[in-house]
């Protein structure tokens, strides 16, 4: 029998500290769906997704009710569409996005990721067609997420792709101007993207993945925050140990749900993503943890060190709790999805430069950041280039999900609703990066010795 305290502690974590499984994401390979006729290809894609994921949502709900743990999202990641659609006889890939959207609605998932291309070294025909279609595809669909890999540590940075993505982000915002530039909230630009990431908007089903797989992302910033309240004023040795123990518990729950979902669906278990993912709900904030550690506001001096310690301790605690760890694994810092980050940005205590520094030590990058609507495409490209460089040099995943909010200026707020929250418009540097971005070409892959 368990101790009464243990049982009540678990219930308190779920009821009052927002402990939940953030997502069960089914990865589905679409490699066998390629057809010369785009229409046939779309039919194949629709059939395969709806067949594989038919029971995904129901299974998630069953597990939710039996274990009494909320599973917030059920999602799907598919093979990058640029690969699947490459042999089809069409240049506009919007119809592929629409097919994904229809399939997502049919099986009841709230997001489907994989309208993606990997172009860190160069573009195939399929890649360029896909990237050209991103703004219209995201404007025409509701649940489709898109990602583009523009850099890796091994290949360097494709600056042509960086330049192009700056323009596509501006265009995607323009096409969804009456919705706050919503399309940009579903678009991520990656350096070192991972193949088994269960989190949106960057999820896709990578090349090394099996036919179908279940990946699980856990959450629980509120639980970590609560645990840290009990060790106020103690040294970082104690703090790190407390975070590790908490992360262990959270991840064990993720592992249990992943195993159960995998068994019931008859689909292999892939990984648990050891992440602290915030939501806009009060008490479900990563920034609040950093503030609990003794910072008056997230964004002030010390934030990077605090985040580095948090990120590392979460991984150390979580890794022993799960058989297979993967995905992005780390603390997320999406500004619009974290109540205390929103507050800090509104106060001016948190700016883009500090966020950039924070991305050096955590997962995953400049995430859900709104900037003024008149920000030049070259400036956005330059922000992407900076972030890609951090990922490339430090051998880690970094990403940019930025929204040049149409018609908005610094001080305004863009509301996306739901998990995407609301983003205060943050200032960017006003000096031009245009000539830098105009150069194009590739930034060569970095050296891996002489590390300093």
């Amino acid at each position: 029998m368990f101790k009464r305290d243990e049982i009540l502690q678990t219930i308190e974590m779920i009821d009052q500290q927002h402990l939940d499984i953030r997502t069960i994401t089914m990865g589905i390979s679409l490699q066998d769906c390629a057809r010369e006729s785009a229409e046939n290809c779309c039919n194949k894609i629709y059939d395969k997704i709806t067949r594989c994921a038919e029971k995904l949502v129901k299974t998630g709900e069953d597990i939710e009710s039996e274990f009494g743990i909320p599973i917030v999202n059920k999602r799907i990641a598919v093979t990058p569409i640029a690969k699947v659609a490459a042999s089809s006889d069409t240049e506009d890939y919007t119809m592929f996005a629409e097919t994904l959207d229809r399939a997502a609605k049919e099986v009841g998932v709230n997001f489907i990721g994989g309208f993606s291309a990997l172009v860190h070294k160069g573009f195939t025909l399929g890649d360029i067609r896909l990237i050209n279609s991103i703004p219209t595809a995201l404007a025409a669909t509701e649940r489709v997420c898109s990602s583009v890999g523009v850099a890796t540590t091994r290949a360097g940075i494709n600056m042509d792709a960086v330049r192009l993505m700056g323009r596509q982000i501006v265009e995607a915002a323009r096409l969804t101007a009456d919705n706050g530039g919503m399309a940009c909230a579903k678009l991520v630009v990656f350096s070192n993207p991972v193949e088994d990431n269960p989190f949106m908007a960057g999820a896709y089903h990578g090349e090394g993945e099996p036919e179908c797989v279940i990946n699980v992302g856990v959450s629980g910033p509120g639980v970590v925050h609560h645990a840290l309240k009990a060790v106020r004023g103690e040294s970082f040795d104690v703090v790190a140990e407390t975070i590790k123990k908490t992360a262990f518990r959270i991840t064990r729950m993720g592992q249990l749900v992943a195993r159960e979902a995998s068994q019931r669906l008859g689909v292999p278990f892939g990984i648990v993503d050891l992440s602290l993912a915030p939501t806009p709900a009060v008490g479900d904030s990563v920034a609040e943890i950093l503030e609990e550690l003794g910072l008056e506001s997230v964004g002030t001096h010390g934030t990077t060190a605090a985040l580095a310690m948090l990120n590392d301790a979460v991984k150390k605690g979580g890794v022993m709790a799960s058989g297979h760890v993967g995905g992005l694994s780390g603390a997320f810092i999406p500004v619009s999805e974290d109540a205390n980050m929103i507050a800090a940005a509104e106060r001016g205590d948190l700016n883009l430069d500090k966020l950039e520094a924070m991305t050096c030590v955590c997962s995953v990058g400049l995430d859900m950041i709104a900037v003024p609507g008149d920000t030049p495409a070259e400036t956005i490209s330059a922000i992407i280039a900076d972030e890609a460089a951090i990922g490339m040099i430090n051998n880690k995943t970094t990403a940019v999900r930025i929204i040049p909010a149409p018609g908005k200026k610094v001080g305004d707020t863009v509301h996306f609703g739901g998990l995407l929250g609301s983003a205060p418009v943050m200032p960017v540097h006003d000096k031009s990066s245009a000539a830098f971005i105009a150069r194009g070409g590739r930034i060569p892959a970095p050296l891996h010795s002489l590390r300093n």
């Binding site: 029998m1 243990e6 009540l8 518990r249 064990r252």
Partner: protein, 89 residues
Amino acid sequence: MKAIVTVIGKDRVGIIAEVCALLAKNDVNVLDISQTILKGYFTMVMMVDTSGCKMAFSELSKLLQEEGEHTGLSVRIQREDIFEAMHRI
């Protein structure tokens, strides 16, 4: 299948009787009970066996929750695996 039932609410006469009657009616066998008053609230944790219950687990869970709400109690049932995962290595 073993599961944990937790009952939390304002203390009054007859809570244990009501919950046990409801469980018995649905062929759920009680294996262990631990009960106390915590910060003024009636708090009960029961280990039960649901293998004789004819209802689906999710229906049983819904029934307990609804019946609890009628009488001002938070009643929940969860498979024991979740506690096992979280508190035992």
